[in-house]
Every structure is written in C-alpha cells, then in structure tokens.
Symmetry: C2
Subunit: 785 residues, 2 copies
Amino acid sequence: MGSDLENLGVAAGINLGLATIFIAAYSVAIKMPINTRVYFPALLQRDPSKFKETGKTGLERFMLNLRLLDWLHGALKMPEEELIATAGLDAVVVLRVFFFSMKMLFPMALWGAIVLIPINKTDNNVQQQHAVNPKSSFSAVDQLSLSNVQDRSDRMWAHLLSAYMFAFWAYYCLWKEYEYITRLRLGYMADLQPQPDQFTVLTTEIPKVDAQSSETMSQRVARYFRVQYPDIYFAHNVVINANPLWALVNKRDKTANKVDALRIKMERKPRKGRPMHRTGFLGLRGPKVDSIDFYEKELSQLREEAATESGIIQSSQKRVVNAAFVTFRNRWGAAVAAQTQVSKNPQLWITSWAPEPRDVYWPNLGMSKWHQGLRRLAVGTAVFFLVFFYMVPISLVQSLANLDSLRHIGTPVKEIVDVPVIAGFVSGFLPGLVLKLFLALLPLLLRTMSTFEGHPSTSTIVRQAAIKVYYFQLVNVFFGSILTGSLFEQLRSFVSQPTKLPETLGNAIPTKSSFFITYIMVDGWAGFPAELLRLFPLLLYHLRVALFVVTDKDRENAMNLQRLHYEELLPSLLFYILLGLVYAPIAPLLLPFLLLFLVIGYVVYKNQIINVYERQYESSAGLWPFVANRVIVALLVAQITLLGVLSLKLASKVAPFAVPLPVLTLVYSVWLRDRFEPNFSRYPLESANEKDVIDSVKYPSWDLRDISDAAYTHPALAKGLTLDAAIPSVEELKEQQLVPVKAKYRRASNPASAASTPRTSRAPSPTRNGAHVTTEDELDPGDKV
Amino acid sequence: MGSDLENLGVAAGINLGLATIFIAAYSVAIKMPINTRVYFPALLQRDPSKFKETGKTGLERFMLNLRLLDWLHGALKMPEEELIATAGLDAVVVLRVFFFSMKMLFPMALWGAIVLIPINKTDNNVQQQHAVNPKSSFSAVDQLSLSNVQDRSDRMWAHLLSAYMFAFWAYYCLWKEYEYITRLRLGYMADLQPQPDQFTVLTTEIPKVDAQSSETMSQRVARYFRVQYPDIYFAHNVVINANPLWALVNKRDKTANKVDALRIKMERKPRKGRPMHRTGFLGLRGPKVDSIDFYEKELSQLREEAATESGIIQSSQKRVVNAAFVTFRNRWGAAVAAQTQVSKNPQLWITSWAPEPRDVYWPNLGMSKWHQGLRRLAVGTAVFFLVFFYMVPISLVQSLANLDSLRHIGTPVKEIVDVPVIAGFVSGFLPGLVLKLFLALLPLLLRTMSTFEGHPSTSTIVRQAAIKVYYFQLVNVFFGSILTGSLFEQLRSFVSQPTKLPETLGNAIPTKSSFFITYIMVDGWAGFPAELLRLFPLLLYHLRVALFVVTDKDRENAMNLQRLHYEELLPSLLFYILLGLVYAPIAPLLLPFLLLFLVIGYVVYKNQIINVYERQYESSAGLWPFVANRVIVALLVAQITLLGVLSLKLASKVAPFAVPLPVLTLVYSVWLRDRFEPNFSRYPLESANEKDVIDSVKYPSWDLRDISDAAYTHPALAKGLTLDAAIPSVEELKEQQLVPVKAKYRRASNPASAASTPRTSRAPSPTRNGAHVTTEDELDPGDKV
C-alpha cells in the first residue's frame, strides 16, 4: 500500500540530496580563483578588471567570501534592465519563460490542491478496481488523480470547470507575456545604438550576370536598387564566398600557434633540444623532422595559399555569389525594402531584414532557393525518420523504469532491486538519467541538420533546431513514454484513425503521472544544480590547463566559452510546460514538483546567464514566438487528453462540453499570432521612423558611412586581406590602430565587435582596399568587383 | 447488351437537338431590333451609335443579315487584345480557362483513345463479372474503362504511366498558363491610363478618436501618414457611412420616377382623369388618394430626410468610420504603403491595396476586424452545414436518375419509362436538369453570405463566393453523386479514417462515368446554347416593356444589365476540369464529350462577353489564382482516385508507384504559388516604378489632383449632396457641366466613371464642398470633418 508514494519519496530524497551536494560544491568552487575561467567566463570577458584589482592571495579571498550563497543573492538581485544590458534580450527571454510558466502554473497548482485533490481523494475508484482485480497495481498517487473518480460520476464537472478556468488563465498569461515581450523587444531595439543591421537588407536570388555582360555583380546591385529604391538606397556589400579562404586562415592561425607553443616550450626547457616529431600516422610513423622548421614551412605555404585565394577574391568575379547586403539611408528605407516585393518575378531579388553582422552564417549565403528547398525536403524526411525510429533508447529506458522487469533478470538483481533505496534509485533516478543522456546527443545532430538547411543566420538555425528538438521530445518522450508499441505503428494508426487520439491519450496519460514526476525531479532538482557546477567543463578545463596550455591563445581556447544552447533548454522547458498543462486537471500532484523545478531552474539559469554564457549574437527575443506557439500546442494536447479521459470515464454529460475547448484554443491562437507575431519578423515603419528621428538628435555626429564599410564582410576577409601587404606584424597593425592586439582573435570570429567600435576600425581599413563595399556616392561605372 | 451506350446515344441526340434549336432560335432572334436590349446590352452601352445609324426598318435589316451564323464569325474573329480592351481582363481570363482546359485535356483524350481504350477493351473483366453474377448490370461503357481490366493485370502499368504523363502535362500547361496570365496582368496594368487606385491604399482599423480629443478622423489620418510616409503621402479620403443616405436617395429616385410615370400616363390618356390609388395593403384597402399628390408629398419628405442626413454627414463626425483611402504621390509610394506594416500594433492602421473605385463595396467599409472575424466564423459554420446537409435535392436527383426506381412507382410509369426515347430522356436529361435547377439557387445564397463576411470589394466577395460554390459542387455533386449514404456520415467516416478515402473513391468513381457523361451533355451541349438564347431575360424584358415601361428609366431597368457571374461559371468549369482529370486515366471515353462541351462553352461565352455582360469592375485577372489552385485540387483528387482504383484492383506491383504522384503535385503547387501568386496580391515596386516613369512621359499634363478628389467618395454623396443647394434641376446641373444627363444614373451606381473622366467632373465638385477630401497641401489644423 502506497508503495509508489514511498518510491517517489525516495527519489525526491535522492534528488534533493544531489542538488544540495551540487550547490554546496559550486558555492565552494566558485570561490577559488583557479576556477574563474570556468565559472565566470562571460563576466571575465565583459569586465576583466573585476578579477584583477584585489592584491589578495587566493586563500585570503576564499576566506573573505565565506558567505557561501552570496552568488545566489547576487544573481537574484540583478534587475531585468541590467540583465538585458549585459546579457542581451535573448537570454532574458529564457528567464521570462521560466517566470511565465511559474505564473501560469502556480494558481493551477493551488486550485488543484484545494479543490481537485480533495474531490479525487474522497472517491474510491482505485480501491474498487484493486478489489475487483487484485493483480492490478494499487497506486496511492492515482488516488489523488482523476483515476480515482468513478465512471459516470458527476464529480467530473469539477474537472471540466477547472479545465476551462485553466484555459482562460493560460490565455490571459500568454497574452500578457506576449505583450510584455513585444514591448521589451520594441523598446530594446529603440534603445540600441546605431547599428548596421538597422539600415540593411539582405537580398538573395540576384539574377546571374550574363557571361557576355561586362557588368559586375556589384554594379548590377547598385543599378537595380538605385532605380527601385530611389533616394533611400545608400550602399551595398556584395557577398563573397570567402569560405575557402576562411578555412586557410583558420589553419594558418592554428599552425602559427603551434609554432609559438613549440618556441615557448623550447625556451622554458632549453636542455631538451629542438622538438622533433614524425610526419606519419598520429606522429608514430614516417621520418622524423624538426618540428619548428616543419610547421614554419607549412605556415609559409598556408600564407601563400591564402594570399593566392585572396588575390582571386580581389581581382575576379569568381567568388562573388548572388547575394548582397544593401544598406539604406535610414531605417525607414531598410524597413520598406525588407517588407516589399521589388521584382516582377517574386522569386528574384528577394529581400529580407538583414541579421546582425555577428549573427550572419556566412557559409549559407548565396545558396539558391531551389537548393535550399531540396535540402529542406531532405532534412525534413530525415527528421521524420529520426523522430519516429529513435525509439530504441527510449524503450530501453522504459524497460529499466520497470522494477518488475529488472526483478525478472535473476535472483541477485532481484535482491538488490528489492532494497528500498535502490528500488527508489532504479525507478526514480536511473531511467531519467539514461533518457537524458540519449537526448543530450540529439540537439547537436539536429543543429547540424538545421545548418544544412541553408538559413542565413545563426539565430534562425538555432530556432529551426529548437523546433525539431521540441517535436522530437513531444513524440519520443511524451508519446513514447505513454504509448505502447512502436511509435511508427502508433503514427500509422493515428493517421488512419485520427479520432482515436483522445481515447488513446486519455487511456495512457493518467497512469503515467508518477513516471513524469520522477522525470521532473531528476532533470530539474538534480540536473539544474549540476548545470551550475559545470562538472564536465570544470574537469576539462583543468585537464587542458595541466596538459596542453602553452600560449595565451591555448588558455583562451581551454576556457571554451559557450553560448546558451537555446535549442536544448527551451524545448525541455516547453516539454515541462506541456506536462504541467496536461496533468493540471488530471493529476494535480505533479504541479508542485514542477514548480520547484521551475524555481531552481530560474535561479540557476539567471546565475549562469550573468556569469557563464557568451552572447554570440542577438536576435532581440526572436525565439519567443516559437515558445508561444508551442504553449498553444501544449494547451491543445492537454485539452484533447482531458476529452479522452472524460470519454473513457463515460461522462456522457460532461465530455461533450470539453469539445469546444480545443476549438477555442485554435481561435485564440489565430488571434494571438495575428496580433503579435508580425512584430517579430518585421520592423514596423512607425518604430523605424521614431528611431531615425530620435537617433539623429541622440547621436548627432554619427555618420552611416562609419559603419557601412566593414560591417557585412566575411570574417575571413578582414583577416585574409591583411596578408597581401607583406604580412604586417602585430606591432605594425597596432601602430595603424587597426586591431587592438587583444581583440585580434575575437574580431575575427566576431565581425560585429568591429562594427560596434567603428571609429577605431576605419581609416586604412583593409576591407576598403578589397573594394567590395560600394557606397552610392563613390560608385562609378568603371568600378571593379 | 449495350443498353447504356444506347441511352447515351439518345441523350446525346436530345441534347444536340436542343442545342441546334437554341442556336437557330438565337440566330434569328438577334436579328430583330426589338431584342437589341436583350442580346446586345453591353455593346449598346459601349457604343450606342452602332444601333442607330441605319435608317432601315427592322424587316429590311432582318432580311439583309440573313447569314444566320455571322454572330459566330464575329465572336470568333475578335482578337484577345481587342477583347481585353472592350470587356476587360477578368472576362478574358474566363475564356482563357476554357482554352486552358481544352489545351490540357485534348492530348489526354487523344492518348486515351489511341492507347488506353484499346487496352481496356481487349480485356474482359466486365463480361466475366456479368457471367459470375448475372444480376450485375453489364455496361458497354464500362468495357472501355479501367473496370474492364482484370484484377492484378499488368495492363495497369499503362494506366500508371498515363497518370504520370497526364500529371506532367498538366503541370506544364498550368505553369505556362499562369505565366501567360501573369504577363497579361502586368501588361494590362502597365497599359492602363492613370487611375486613382494605382495611387491609393485602403487603410482600416484606424484607432478611434478620443471623445476629449479635438482631432478629427481626417486630421488624424493626415498626421499619421504624413509622418510615417514622409515625402510620398499626398491626400486622403475618410470613409463616410453614407449607407442611410444611399437608401434615402435610392428611394427618392424611385418615387421621382413614379411621379414622372404617373404624369406621362396622364398626358397620354387625359380622359382617364388623375390617377388614384388606395394607401392600404397592396393598394386594395384604405382611403383613396390622388396618386400624383401622394407621391409628390412623399418625394418632398424624402428630399428633406436626405437633406437632414447629408447635413449630419457634413457638419459632424457621426458618420465618419475608421477607414480611409490614402493617396500617394506616386505608384511606388502606394505599392510601398500597401505592402508594409506601419503601426507597432499590427492590428491597427492595416493597409491594403485599394480596390478600383467602382469595385469598392461601400457598406462593408469600416467594419472592424473583430466583427469580420465573427462574421466569417458564422458564415463558415453556415456554409459547412449547407454543404453537408443540402443533399436532399441531390438524393432526389439520384433517385430520378435511376430508371429502376421509377419503374417501381407503378405500371403506367413503368410503361412510359420503357419507351426508349423516354428512358433516354429520363436517364439522360432529367436528372441533370433538376440538379442544375437546384444548383442555380445556390450562388445567390453563397454570394449573399460572402457579402455578409465584410470584404471591402465586390471582386473579393465574388471570389469568396466562387470558392464556396466550388466546394459545394465538389462535395455535393462530385462526392454526393458517387458515394452512397448521407454526406455527413461520409464526412464522419473520412475524418475518423482518412486513409479509407482512396479506396472509397476508387470503388465508386469508375461506375459513374455514364452518369457524368450525361451530366456534361445536359449542362454544356444544351445548357450553353440556352445561355446564348437568354430565354428567361428575353421573356422578362418583353413582358416588362409591354406592361410596366413608361419612363426612359423604366426601359433601362427592364434591360436588366448583368455582369458575368464568375462565381457560377468558374466553379462549374472547374468541376468539369475535375471530371476530366479524374476520368482521363480511368474512363477516357468521357473526355471527347467534355471537349465538345468546352468548345461550345468557349464560343458561347466569347459571344456573350462581347455583347451581353456589363463590366462592373475590373480586378485584372484577380480570379486566376483561385482557378489555378482548384486545378491543383482536381489533380490531387484524380491521383488519389487512381491510387484507390489500382489498390482495389489488387495491382500490388503498380499501386505503390502511384503514391508519389499526389506528393509531387503538392510540391509542385508550393512552387507554383511561390512563383506566381504574389503578383496577384501585390504590386511589385519594379512595375510601379516603370509605370511612374513611363506615364510621366506619356501623360505629361496629367495631374494627380484631378482624380484624387472625387474618386473614392461614397456614391450616395455625389447624389445626396446636390440636394443641399436648393435642389438644382437637371438643366442647372447641365450648365454646371457637372453630370451629363444621360450619365446621371450610371454615375450614381458607378462612381468610377466619374473618375475615368476626371476633367469634366472637377471644378465646382459637390464632393469638394463636402470637405471629406483633403490633400496635403490644403490641410490645416483647423480643418473640419
């Protein structure tokens, strides 16, 4: 009796214990200066001075900050505006999603505890079922759920009423949150400094230049846009396929670093003599060579190749692709150009709002629509099969979760499993962990697939990956956990008999609440503090520092600065929102567990966003519509499930009244999209105008020409072209004020940092020499490239 | 043996006979001058001189033009460009649809006759079935169809191959036609004279003016657009709800006409004394009054009311609705404004390309999106029920079509029915006719519903009605004819088991080919010539002339000038295209009948378009995307049907190869829409620019101010406001050169004719006095309205 409650208790104990251990360990570990690069990489990057000022030794500082949970206080007290300013709006939206879910689910949990659980508990369906069929498991958790209400009972009116209340509350929350985030987004964009993407449009599918025509791509773009957008066209950057150059430049830098490292090693331990290595397989075979000579030779060869490649880029049309960034005189012009169809053939000269320079995914630019279409079809098919045939690991988890099946393995296993703590561990921790590990591999795969689809910006790639991950989780974790038999079989039966869906859901969902409660505990209660501790990056960092780090660059690489993986976090979060909404009217016991999960997650991620993750690009809350649309999906699934449960419980009076709910949700979603979504894909002219006017007052001396030069240039060109002029040394560059030494590598991987400090990167800019930037004022018909 | 072939022959004979009679009657009737207003109303309206020049008597002219079929020659010889110039592009698109279907179906028919029919005929499945079960009807028509091929036969490879060939041929035809019509559309719009709609955008959902604010709607619009579209904003017309005034004015005109008629009657027959009538129910009860006095009193009262109403319009904000027509300095500006989101709230200040002035459906302007949404939901639900429960008449037709059921009525009926000619008539003519009659009522109803949905232009209303009619026909005529049981039951079974659809179709379709052949013969072979003869309008006109016509206006009204009812013709045509595509691989015998139908239809409608239909508005081929999308639907239905037939015939080797066909069609349709559809909803900036430049050369003295005044004014205002100035007589108006007398009524129903002759309607324009037109140059903050 109550064995499942006991198991739940054990699982809760284990997970809370783990959480405490992780948090304690983290609280200690962050005090050690040696871990600064693991726990504060983002802060270190933003404000290095913070970590240098104190002259105290590590131990002194450690003793000084003995208040172990001050990090918690620090994280929680930071207001939203400051967070937006430091970490960007994209990161803040993630926290808003945590906050939104808490706000939406807390009243539901309260209502469930006060009204629904008493109603369920005072009936006795579970007991009766057990009495009729003693073999069926008797579950104390089920006693608190709708399962305990007898068939045909009028008590189900309460659940129906709750479902309506929950739905309207969810509509309200979603509406308010969408409104709030839209305001944040518009406000954020209005407050931004003048930036190139505000003035720029990406145009693709530029018709190919005839072989006979003497017109270059650049001339063609200038001519077309000057005619079609008279007065507002300003300049353009033709996109150049610098990907081969990019590869060469990267290889060159790695080799240069290797040479540096070898030299430093030799200086430190001169008696070891010049380092040698073998050139063959893994350095184990082949002739022995002098390493420094060898790599220097390789380096000079790479430099030559890069010079040749950059020569091709400069002197011919070979590397010009049919895409261009077109800059307009004002934001209004760019907003107009991004939203209008310019060509008579709508498949040519397609314009879209340009992503931020650092958000541009260069390798995908210039891919034709046809090509993209084919790739998307291929990826779509692949994802379909992945989603529906990735169930092998999931079913493995299912069999692990089942204590009975473990007991059947043999006597020793049975004895071990029968120890209550281990039973709790097996049913409460192991399945979730295994499932989690399998799922951890997935986002990388799906991100690669999304990249392959040919989207022009990283933020779009991440969004597409997030959508794929979400559907994967929905099908595999949610449906995979609650349905029996192969997923593909299930799909077939749903396609041929879609009306059976509510029944199937209604049959399976109520019995699975304890499984999902343990899943929540493992993933959130213990998982989020583990994310805080960053055990794996911590070990990796120290291992690297101990073994490989020689040059400064090595140390920087070892830090392994990472962005927040939205495509992993958001789908998981959305999956939990789905669980919450589905179980709110059916088994409200799940909600308190979920709420604790959300609280822990909120704190952990707020801390990590401040200290750990690098902000690689900013899409200004561009992921929010994805979240909102998935919440709608969750509502639909929840409402269809309730309909199924009610029908199965033969509530013939109540069930028909549940039918309008999903319809209502669909109507609501149409309104919601119509009201808010356009602002996440377009720049309203009103906003563009306002910013044009205000910024002309706020930044009176600011000139568009300052940024339009280098902003939209392939990062390889900024690096590669410096090679032409007799390979200037870093000192020379420093004198030219071209690149601050520290920023050299960052700039290369991040062209926008150049744009945000336009004045330093101007004067003798190498990209200017490359002549692929053409402002209208300068262009003349003889212009090359 | 072959009884169904005989029946088909009889039906063909009857219908061809009828066709001959109709055509002969028409050929004679059009020679009679008395019928001019029935057979040449459009021509009469365009070019009245054509019908007056000859001094000959009616008989002389009749004898002169004894070549009876010269109308046919006249219709056929008119080239497309001339037709576009006289009848407009919308009408020409209808002819293109006839032409396109012929082009698409003719090679299919040929291939069917040469390849498929021999393959079918040389098998013997039908005979065997008959031998096994003698009760089953033996059909000679089925012997020519796929039904005659034995189960599992390898002959079905031929049908599969044909389906692929047909699909690719259909793709090609559709692509070429879409391209051609897009070219026509862009060319047509490029050749148009300067017109107000080229410069104008309709903006709706203007935020309500506060009660405290002293700003009028007009000032608000001017302020907003001048800021958001600087440089290109030119002027605007606030929309005024003149619908009450409109009703009063119409009633006033009717009463005035009544008074005129009474006076003329009295003059003609003075001895009869002053006409009297009773005021009570139907003029049968109540006190007797002097009619002229009575109506004159009513007339003056109506004039007063109209004056009061127009006073309200002029002096207050009460009748101003939150919509406006905004005119821009050039076409480029209007194209930009129509395509961009201007407000931060995408549900406010919604802009869309303005319909032509004569296309504007005034009563719907100013309806809020919410209101429209609710209405569309209501209409959608109503249409759903209409579509699925309108089957009573259809099943009646079904039972009529069945000779056996008629025989069961009783001996006398049986004897009559067994006469071969009558049997042919019953099975070949009657069912189609009854079906047709029921269907004739429908477009009116669906048009009313579409009007109720709140679309701002007549062309959109017609398009929406056409979509509804199409789906009605698809479900009721197509599925209703081939499926057994109630349609709603069928729908339920399809929703719960969608994969059963191909099987059900495959089961029913092949056996219904003779039914549809007779349907085609009745509708096309006899129906189109009946359309030519216009028997009903002919009788109605002469009846009216004989009984009611007194004033000139009466005669004009009796003419009953009608537009081409696209919402009836196009769905029918598309239904036949569906039949053609479905039966092309299955029962190719149907195609020759269909082709003859198309030829007759093409000739008839070309003639009618030239002579009969009034062009009430021009949407520049705006209906074509609807047609193209429905052809795609037809292809899908055809391919799914074939899949079903092949599966039912156990062609386990062949059937799987039919699965990719619908997928291919879907992919193709995505491409097709993407490639062409945007040009039917947007004005590409390239085109707008070109026209701006060319027209500035072509019409150098043309000034935008000439048209922007009166173009977008509620038709009632042009009429109603003339009442203020002491009700000027027609002579006075003539002197003012305001309205040509003849054109007075036409202008009222057709505000665009005023716009297309801008110079005459300018100077002391009454609408200018109404001050609801505001150009930017004139507006000052104290401006009223």
